[in-house]
């Protein structure tokens, strides 16, 4: 029969073995009603121009190009951290300058995109950049184009991790936590604010229509028509 000492040692060995195991980034799947609506448009025989504003996703590029569409990728969250688009405010603090930001990013011709996948960008982007970015997206989208945006609800809490969304099916997404190398160490971007429905309606007031999809995981999907 094992002694008490053996059992205690086995307990601690097990704990240290668990602690030594490398952290594997967790991915999880979620069904997306917004993506299901987008997929109906993506099943068109016409070659569409799709703009993906998340970090590089081989899944998304493969999914979109396999359907014959042109895929544009631009990681706007990472771009918003570029020191070159920051200026000092009156308090001497470095803040992003929306004019500089839009000189370097989203520099497309007007009316180019049929679909824009914005994911959770407004929730994690600096406040001063959000409205100018949305206005620019309106300009570069075709009339009738679709914009998909995800917003956290209050239930998500202030430490809601930032996820990258990979398209894995017509209505399925795989969520992967994002870590940005903004300051030497890779950190998860912080949730900047929680939009309520009125905030969202104001943000997208130039769009023709807005549709909300509520999900159980504290994410509100918003589908807009340009």
């Amino acid at each position: 029969m094992a002694s008490v000492a053996d059992n205690v040692m086995r307990f601690f060995r097990g704990s240290s073995e668990q602690a030594a195991a490398p952290a594997v980034p967790q991915k999880r799947s979620r069904r997306s009603s917004g993506m299901a609506e987008i997929s109906r448009l993506l099943n068109s025989d016409d070659s569409l121009c799709v703009l993906d504003l998340g970090s590089t996703s081989a899944n998304n590029i493969r999914f979109l190009t396999a359907k014959g569409h042109k895929n544009y990728s631009e990681d706007l969250l990472q771009a918003s951290l570029d020191p070159d688009v920051h200026v000092k405010n009156e308090l001497g603090k470095l803040v992003p300058d929306d004019k500089k930001f839009l000189e370097e990013n989203l520099t497309y011709q007007n009316g180019l995109f049929d679909v824009v996948l914005c994911w959770n960008l407004p929730d994690y982007m600096e406040e001063s950049l959000v409205k100018p970015t949305i206005d620019r997206l309106w300009s570069v989208m075709k009339p009738g184009g679709l914009l998909l945006v995800f917003f956290h609800t209050r239930d998500a809490g202030p430490d809601a991790p930032c996820y990258r969304f990979h398209i894995t099916g017509t209505d399925m997404l795989e969520m992967q936590e994002v870590r940005l190398a903004a300051s030497g160490d890779k950190q998860s971007p912080r949730l900047q604010r929680v939009f309520n429905n009125r905030n969202i309606e104001n943000l997208f007031r130039d769009f023709a229509s807005i549709k909300f999809f509520l999900a159980r995981d504290a994410i509100r999907e918003v589908l807009l028509v340009r």
Binding site: S47, T56, A58, R62, T65, G68, K70, Y72, S73
Partner: protein, 119 residues
């Protein structure tokens, strides 16, 4: 990924800086700086991890481990390895992107030689 193991290829080391047109009829491994254009219509280009390419690239196959800024056109495929940083438009028949690669630009799949999909 290491230097290609096939025998016949041109090797441009990391200390080499080229400004202008780079053309050839053999596979090429570039680990230096190129500013201009690279054309290897029937061959492969491997961009090494130290490379900084600011050029339009035309080749049969392009494998990228370093930095490329410029358009990339291949008749076969493009591979972005995990250390790749690419800013530019890619036109190709097939594309493979490893986890960790950074890409900004357009991807257009060219389904038939000489025709682009949906253009």
């Amino acid at each position: 990924m290491d230097v290609p193991k096939t025998g016949d290829f041109a090797h441009i080391g990391k200390s080499v800086v080229i400004k202008g047109e780079l053309t050839g009829s053999e596979d090429m491994y570039v680990d230096g700086n190129v500013d201009g254009s690279i054309e290897l219509r029937n061959n492969s280009l491997t961009v090494g991890p130290n490379a900084k390419i600011k050029a339009s690239v035309v080749a049969k196959v392009v494998v990228i481990q370093g930095r490329v800024e410029g358009s990339i056109t291949t008749s076969d495929r493009v591979e972005l390895k995990k250390s790749a940083v690419v800013n530019g438009d890619i036109t190709t028949q097939r594309i493979a992107i490893e986890e960790g690669a950074a890409f900004q630009g357009k991807v257009e799949i060219q389904r038939e030689a000489g025709k682009s999909a949906g253009s």
